[in-house]
């Protein structure tokens, strides 16, 4: 009989194995050893249907002579009052379960399947409370079979000690979309290596030596999913040298194809994927929001969702939140449907009119405003779900303590805690704890960046959670729950508005979960505290002061200056930071050159001591624009700064009129570089036809071919966005930019509002913006 060993360490990876059940990789707390552990893991799924069909299925399964155990049991369906009689199919391993289910769903498509397509990591987490990078205590035999496993921490702690992961960074020396990389750069343990791709054998041998010697836990690659791993594979086949990319011997790389899908009217591109076994592969270009939160955020996503780190890095937050809900269901013993089954309840036309709406979005008071506070409900929709127990199975049910949803003829059961609020509660609590910790923290504090990354990962999960209530394919979705949340949201925002007006504040703008208010004499945090308390009192939802703007400009629509736009503004907080929405600098399809100049303009404005002195910065802005335009004309702007990057919205054949992006994609198509919808194409505007030059063509374009006028026009637009609220008219700006006129603008072109202290727009009296004269 073999003896037991007690191991302490962090859980690195988990995946199914056809023979051994489940494989776990543990990073020992000594930071040196890695343990490959295994455990038998019988896996069950459930089938529901009428008695006759289930009997047929039973006989069929018996006839297959597979090692499965069948039994009739009762399990709880989330949406049913009574337990549901189901057939339990217990297989020996997760792999066997997956294969059997795959077979049955085509052979018996009319039956209802539960717990059938759940990732192993979630099943295992439900039983053992493990999660990626969890500290564990394991009792294992000499042969590595797990006898007992205990998880020593939870994903909800905010101070987790860092895990001593050994990271190997692999990056080609240039973007393979652009041209064939020449060298592979490798960073490891503070050293870096350069391996030329042309010495193919040498590269493989050296890389293999590094992998064997250091045995890194994590391969962090750039263009890894998309290019590098495929390239290495080609070389491996050519030279018959195998790189131990996966830590598990004999297991290669798990590949998934690229794809695209439509989401809320946008085309989303998902690149191909390459996942490893026992070693983590993260490819930065394919990691959702890597640029937002980095590795720390990826780890946090994995911790809170319990998905494998490699999976968590590559899935959308929607899959993340859905996984969390599945985990809650498994732990509560609730069946997880394979497909969504809840259809919309019957509604009258009137109640549909009432219910089928989103959050309240106001039209802001156009113009420049000083000393404005922005107050936001903290994670409004998730807070509503948590606070009012909004969940697919609680809406529309009365119960003794049922509550009424405002506006809608609907009640919510308060006697039973809903699955969605139960899932959200620890996440919301952690987020609020992090927010509070961050509020008073010095940005130089070592915890600052990890906290920020974690908070950012949570934000996306929480944002998506609401959408998933109404998403047509969400397993635990129900449109009525979605409607209840927006109804509570509208009510809360209106109560906040009423509270503000009752306390003498002026409401300049409201946007779903935030409002912008102003009050004579109010300019400090303490001046807005009574309002926060009043709103909390009236709504029951947590609210915070996002900041106080020294001044903020709400912009009008570009085609019609009389029409305000909800989400186009820029404002300078008292602490000197900017909040900018909807203008060129925030847009992905703006060239770096234009973005930089717009930022420079903002920085010049930031030098003004107060809103009333902003116009004094105009001469400096005039000089700036002239200088930058001169540089453009003299071809002194690096081409890379002029790059425009746009997404392809459809395949080339589907375009009726080719957009500039499509024309650039067509150029790439000609040289065999095929792009699919959702992918970005980078190009320059050039003179003559076809008017664009794709950046990823092998040759650099002639700088003389750049369409100077086009870029000047783009700059003019971006400059006008910033200057319009200061009262500068487009014609004036054009004079400044495109003629040799000095700053001394001709009389009449600088409207009076420009010289006023602040063109304050009252609640009631909005002065007509400069309209053409009306002849009656």
């Amino acid at each position: 009989m073999s003896s037991s060993n007690e191991l302490h360490g962090w859980l690195l990876d988990i995946y199914p194995d056809p023979a051994q059940g489940v494989i776990l990789w543990l990073l020992d707390e000594d930071g040196i050893r890695r343990h490959r552990l295994h455990q038998p893991f019988p896996t069950a799924f459930y089938v529901h249907g009428d008695n006759g069909s289930l009997r047929t299925l039973w006989r069929y399964l018996k006839s297959l002579s597979l090692p499965v155990q069948l039994s009739r049991v009762e399990q709880q369906d989330l949406f049913k009052e009574q337990p549901l009689p189901v057939l339990e199919v217990l297989t020996e391993t997760p792999c066997a379960q997956e294969q059997l289910f795959h077979h049955l769903k085509t052979s018996f498509p009319d039956l209802t399947y539960y717990n059938a397509d759940i990732p192993l990591a979630l099943r295992y987490a439900a039983q053992t409370h493990t999660f990626p990078l969890a500290r564990c205590r394991v009792l294992a035999t000499d042969g590595g079979e797990i006898e007992a496993l205990e998880t020593l921490d939870t994903p909800w702690m905010i101070d987790t000690p860092p895990v001593p992961l050994l990271v190997m960074v692999l990056t080609p020396d240039c973007n393979p979309d652009h041209k064939e990389p020449v060298e592979l750069k490798v960073y490891l343990e503070g050293k870096h290596y350069l391996f030329p791709f042309k010495e193919e054998r040498g590269l493989l041998i050296k890389l293999r030596a590094l992998l064997r010697r250091y045995d890194p836990d994590l391969l962090l690659t750039v263009w890894g999913d998309k290019w590098l791993i495929t390239k290495l594979h080609q070389l491996m086949e050519k030279h018959q040298i195998t790189l131990p990319l996966s830590r598990e011997q004999g297991r290669g790389v798990e590949r998934r194809e690229e794809r695209f899908y439509h989401s809320y009217g946008r085309v989303i591109y998902r690149g191909p994927q390459a996942r490893l076994f026992g070693r983590i592969h993260i490819s930065t270009e394919n990691t959702v929001m890597y640029h937002d939160y980095g590795l720390e955020g990826v780890f946090e996503m994995a911790r809170v969702t319990s998905l494998r780190i490699q999976t968590a890095a590559r899935v959308s937050p929607g899959t993340g939140i859905s996984s969390m809900q599945i985990l809650t269901a498994l732990r509560q013993g609730v069946l997880v449907p394979w497909h969504k089954q809840q259809v919309e309840r019957f509604k009258t036309a009137y109640s549909l009119l009432q219910a089928d709406r989103g959050g309240l979005v106001y039209q802001p008071t156009i113009g420049l405003h000083s000393q404005v506070a922005e107050i936001d409900f903290i994670s409004m929709y998730p807070s509503i779900m948590e606070h009012f127990n909004v969940s697919p199975e609680t809406v529309g049910k009365g119960g003794a303590n049922g509550t009424f949803v405002p506006e809608l003829e609907m009640t919510i059961d308060q006697d039973h805690r809903g699955l969605v609020p139960d899932t959200l509660q620890p996440l919301l609590e952690k987020r609020i704890k992090l927010k509070q910790a961050l509020a008073g923290m010095n940005p130089k504090d070592a915890r600052y960046l990890p906290y920020k990354a974690q908070s950012s990962a949570h934000k996306w999960l929480l944002v998506t959670c609401f959408g998933y209530l109404g998403y047509k394919n969400a397993r635990f979705g129900r449109i009525e729950a979605h409607e209840a949340v927006t109804a509570y949201g509208r009510e809360a925002l209106l109560r906040a508005k009423e509270a503000a007006e009752d306390l003498g504040y002026r409401v300049l703008h409201m946007y779903v979960d935030g409002l912008w208010v102003q009050k004579e004499g109010a300019s400090k945090v303490a001046d807005f505290q009574p309002l926060l308390e009043e709103i909390l009192d009236r709504t029951g939802l947590p609210i915070s002061l996002d900041g106080i703007y020294q001044w903020i400009a709400f912009l009008s629509s570009r085609p019609d200056p009389r029409v305000p736009v909800a989400n186009r503004y820029f404002g300078l907080f008292q602490n000197g930071t900017w909040k900018v929405r909807g203008i060129e600098v925030r847009r992905d399809d703006t060239s770096r050159w234009v973005k930089n100049i717009q930022l420079e303009m903002l920085n010049l404005l930031a030098d003004a001591p107060d809103a009333g002195k902003l116009v004094e910065q105009l001469p400096r802005i005039h000089t700036l624009l002239q200088t930058r335009l001169a540089a453009l004309r003299e071809q002194k702007v690096p081409l890379v700064d002029l790059l425009i990057s746009q997404k392809l919205s459809r395949t080339l054949g589907e375009y009726k009129v080719l957009s500039p992006a499509a024309r650039a994609a067509a150029q790439l198509e000609e040289i065999g570089k095929h792009l699919i919808p959702g992918q970005r194409v980078r190009f320059l505007y050039t003179r003559g036809k076809p008017g664009v030059y794709a950046w990823d063509l092998p040759e650099r374009p002639d700088p003389g071919a750049i369409n100077i006028n086009r870029y000047a026009e783009l700059l003019c637009r971006a400059a006008f966005t910033i200057l319009q609220p200061l009262g500068v008219e487009e014609q004036t700006l054009r004079w400044w930019m495109f003629t040799n006129a000095g700053y001394g603008a001709p009389p009449g072109f600088l409207p009076d509002s420009c010289s006023q202290e602040i063109p304050l727009l009252g609640d009631l009296f909005s002065p007509a913006p400069h309209l053409p004269p009306i002849i009656l």
């Binding site: 709406r357 979005v361 039209q363 209106l494 029409v563 009296f765 009306i774």
Partner: protein
């Protein structure tokens, strides 16, 4: 985008488009005034959305009236101020 009820902005644009023939037959000076009226209705789309009235155009008309009345109040105040200055 999966909406059953069209958004208030879509409704507004549809209602405005329904008057395209009316607008076309107006003198160009009148067309501009009509455009002003529609622009003023647009300022209260969020309230119109919240109201979710079965006949949204009534809400748009009321929004136009509201803006008109605001203008009257503003002009009255201006007249009063000018009168005050003249009397001094």
């Amino acid at each position: 985008m999966g909406r059953t009820v069209s958004s208030i902005t879509q409704t507004f644009l549809k209602e405005r488009a329904a008057f395209a023939r009316f607008r076309r037959a107006l003198r160009s000076s009148d067309q501009r005034v009509l455009d002003d009226l529609f622009a003023s209705a647009r300022k209260h789309l969020s309230a119109a959305s919240y109201a979710s009235h079965a006949l949204p155009f009534e809400t748009f008309l009321l929004s136009m009236l509201l803006e008109e009345h605001k203008e009257i109040i503003r002009l009255r105040q201006e007249v009063a101020e000018i009168r005050h200055v003249i009397q001094q």
